[in-house]
């Protein structure tokens, strides 16, 4: 059973087709980062998973059930921190827990524990109306966690936060990840996603345009730039014998960034008399990858550059709409 499974989901608002056959699978225990430009449909997807919206077409299962049934097992942090301002943080947590059917001393203890976790223990008796944006976001995390949900849906958790607020939220995400929570994290903050997520998907034009494991990105390849196109036969044959995948494209040779394979490739090239001009990372990180994917989407028939497609996994979740 997947924590989240959407299959060929379509959603339209008035004249705007937001999702066009979007398919996604998130495994239990994963932290999944969903990237995409403004208006790509990330918040729409979160609202579909929460059952606030109904898909026009396609199937959605959250924790193996329809969203409306799974609702009580989800924790939601909305993008815009809008909360009921006439309550104190402690009262708010109590009320949110009570709305989930919790009650008694266990709820009070849980409230206190969560306020301590998000660093609001000192402000428990302050009215939410007087909170800064960072404090509201942290309260939002506590509200999302109060009923011990099995899946967390975080929509732009660092949106509008100052750097220290972003750091605090980042620490919270690290803590939640260490507790093995399943999280779907929508964000524009590429560094945040790269730091916290196991897998990343890029939502563009209503489909999952690309998906990758962050570990694949981190175990990135390097590009060796040589002085000529067309390698001499001994060099080409030598590279073919290496255990690691080697891709030769013009003057660029990409190999896995493991010490042994890089050194072996360099030795083969130098022994064959090929001059090495530069050795650099094949891809700079998630930011570069994201931009490359978005640029490729903008081109007619847009194919991903080979250097990018090396990192992008064939989406195991590719849906009908993407084929």
């Amino acid at each position: 059973m997947y924590a989240v499974e959407t299959i060929d989901v379509w959603k339209r608002f008035a004249t705007q087709q937001v999702l066009r056959g979007f398919s996604l699978r998130v495994s239990p225990g994963d932290v999944y980062g969903l990237l995409g430009p403004n208006g790509a449909g990330k918040s729409t997807l979160i609202h579909l998973l929460l059952g606030f919206l109904h898909p026009d077409k396609g199937r959605i299962a959250v924790l193996g059930r329809p969203p409306a049934v799974a609702q009580g097992r989800l924790g939601y942090l909305p993008e815009h921190a809008r909360y009921h301002t006439h309550f104190t943080a402690a009262e708010y947590l109590q009320a949110a827990g009570a709305c989930s059917g919790l009650h008694g001393p266990a709820l009070r203890d849980r409230g206190r524990t969560l306020l301590a976790l998000v660093g609001l223990a000192q402000d428990a008796d302050r009215r939410v109306g007087g909170f800064s944006k960072g404090m509201l976001q942290r309260l939002g995390v506590a509200l999302a966690l109060v009923h011990e949900p099995e899946l967390l849906l975080f929509d732009e958790p660092t949106s509008g936060l100052d750097p220290s607020g972003q750091n605090e939220m980042s620490d919270l995400l690290t803590e939640l990840r260490s507790q093995r929570h399943t999280i779907v994290l929508c964000s524009h903050q590429l560094l945040e996603v790269e730091a916290h997520c196991d897998r990343v998907g890029i939502l563009a034009d209503g489909v999952l345009a690309a998906e990758m494991r962050v570990s694949d990105l981190q175990a990135r390849r390097v590009t060796i730039v040589v002085d000529r196109e067309g390698l001499p036969a001994p060099a080409a044959a030598g590279l073919r014998t290496l255990a690691t995948d080697v891709v030769v494209e013009g003057r660029e040779i990409r190999v896995a960034d493991a010490d042994a394979s890089l050194q072996q490739a360099l030795r083969v090239l130098l022994d064959a008399g090929v001059s090495v001009r530069e050795v650099r990372p094949a891809i700079g990180g998630l930011a570069e990858l994201y931009l490359a994917v978005m640029q490729a989407r903008a081109l007619p028939g847009g194919r991903l550059p080979a250097v990018v497609s090396d990192c992008v996994a064939p989406t195991e979740t590719a849906g009908e709409g993407q084929r």
């Binding site: 919206l53 609702q71 009580g72 815009h80 809008r82 309550f87 009320a95 009570a98 709305c99 989930s100």
Partner: protein, 254 residues
């Protein structure tokens, strides 16, 4: 009590607290004082007539109840609602919690009005021509009518339905209430309007009957039928509201 019921009650309590703390309740408070001054202030020595209390007070409370239900539904139609909706409470609990909160405010308003009027007449040592038993007999159908009005406003709130079905229901309501439409319309239209009006007017019968029962405070042979009719119509309106709310795309107003 199930977790869902507990959640619904808790949410109704939460909404009530917000209604009080945000000061919105002041509207009801001022309205009660204004009603006491304008409608029930003793200006002669004749005392309070029970029929007058329930007819004028009933109309005032029905209007105020409709306002309160609208105000509380507006309270629920804000993005703040998302964090509470994403819980075991669900949509039906959310809507019923809002409805329950509005009913509690309406009831509190009615009790305040009754108490203030009784106190004033006691203070002026004027006769209160309404026994406690008469008050109870008038209160039951009046409160049911108020609950019904609140259910109707819940159904018609933008939180529950989009503009087109709301306008359609309002148009049908106007047709049901109009008495001269069949006389004014051309014959072929009148042939359609007549039966339509009769059909649409059926749910209004318990409402009107309930109001008359409250004013008279005398329960004849059909009284229990009227009260049962009020309960059925109120239940049907609420069920329709929950059904519509469950099925719509939820985009809370910002």
């Amino acid at each position: 009590m199930s977790a869902w019921s507990r959640g619904t009650m808790a949410f109704a309590g939460f909404t009530l607290q917000e209604y009080l703390r945000s000061g919105r309740i002041a509207v009801e408070g001022v309205a009660v004082l204004a009603a006491v001054w304008l409608l029930f202030w003793p200006r002669s020595a004749s005392g309070l007539d029970g029929r007058l209390f329930f007819s004028l007070g009933g109309l005032f409370l029905l209007a105020l109840g409709a306002y309160t239900a609208m105000a509380i539904m507006r309270l629920g139609n804000r993005p703040q609602g998302y964090v509470l909706l994403a819980r075991r409470l669900g949509r039906s609990g959310y809507l019923l919690g809002l409805y329950l909160a509005s009913i509690i405010v309406v009831l509190a308003t009615y009790l305040s009005l009754s108490l203030v009027v009784a106190l004033i007449y006691a203070l002026y040592r004027l006769p209160l021509n309404l026994t406690l038993a008469g008050w109870w007999l008038g209160t039951v159908p009046l409160v049911l009518d108020m609950a019904l009005a609140a259910a109707f406003m819940t159904l018609l709130s933008p939180l529950v339905m989009s503009a087109a079905p709301r306008l359609t229901i309002l148009a049908l309501f106007v047709v049901a209430l109009s008495t001269d439409l069949t006389k004014m319309a051309a014959l072929p239209i009148a042939n359609v309007l007549g039966p339509l009006q009769m059909l649409l007017g059926l749910p209004l019968l318990p409402v009107m009957g309930g109001f008359a029962l409250a004013v008279q405070q005398t329960y004849g042979p059909g009284a229990l039928g009227i009260i049962a009719g009020q309960v059925v119509v109120g239940w049907a309106l609420l069920t329709a509201a929950v059904y519509a709310f469950e099925r719509r795309d939820l985009i809370l107003s910002s």
